[in-house]
Amino acid sequence: MSRYTLVTSIVNRFSGLLLSAGLLLLVYWLISVAGGPKAYSRARALLSLPPLQFIYWGLLVAFCYHLLAGIRHLIWDTGHALERSQAQRSSWLIGLLTLALAIALGLWLVRFGGHAA
């Protein structure tokens, strides 16, 4: 059985849900910018809490995966790369590219001194 299609499909959904939750963080951050310096420093202190750093890494990986898997879905919609062997190969490719992209963006992010916000 082609179990990898099951895994990639579930992971795509899960990463999507994680990114949906990430929208809450984004809107909270935007509102704090609009709220003035006091509101922003309060939000920044909250968003810099250590447990949230794990969430940022999770969001980063989820973003990379969902982006790449989404592009694959759009390619599938054109009727290309639908053969079982091709789907299997692209699954591995997406996994590897997600890892590479997440590490690259993560290293760029660390520039902020580990404080993503």
Partner: protein, 130 residues
């Protein structure tokens, strides 16, 4: 009367052609395509900022391109998210009451997120943020 759809079909609203399912599928694809450049732009611009102190962020958010793309990103992302979360609920929640309640809450939450974000972006853009 000129419709080829039978009265029963119209009443039940089932079947793919002309139903809401096609619209859902199409919007999911449209928002996906739009989000490829929009989300990449957002992540790259955020990471390109020299820092995340408020002055830097406000300067960035007051640029015209940032305002337009950020509003677009928020609207398209919340729409895409709403479509996706809806499918997950429809697929995994099988109690009609709970399902309906969750769909209502999720839809309202997304509308609230989208409007709050757009309001915040415009407030900063027009320089009315303290």
């Amino acid at each position: 009367m000129n419709s080829l759809r039978s009265p029963l079909r119209r009443v039940t609203g089932l079947g793919a052609a002309g139903s809401e399912a096609v619209h859902h599928w199409w919007m999911q694809r449209l928002t996906s395509i739009a989000l490829v450049p929009l989300s990449v732009w957002f992540v790259v611009s955020l990471l390109s900022l020299p820092g995340l102190d408020r002055a830097t962020v406000v300067t960035w958010m007051m640029q015209s391109w940032t305002v337009v793309l950020l509003v677009l990103l928020v609207l398209v992302a919340t729409w895409h998210s709403q479509l996706g979360v809806r499918v997950v609920i429809e697929d995994y929640v099988h109690t009609t009451g709970t399902k309906t309640l969750m769909l209502v809450v999720v839809t309202f939450a997304h509308a609230l997120i989208a409007l709050s974000a757009v309001f915040a972006i415009l407030k900063v853009a027009f320089g009315s943020a303290a």
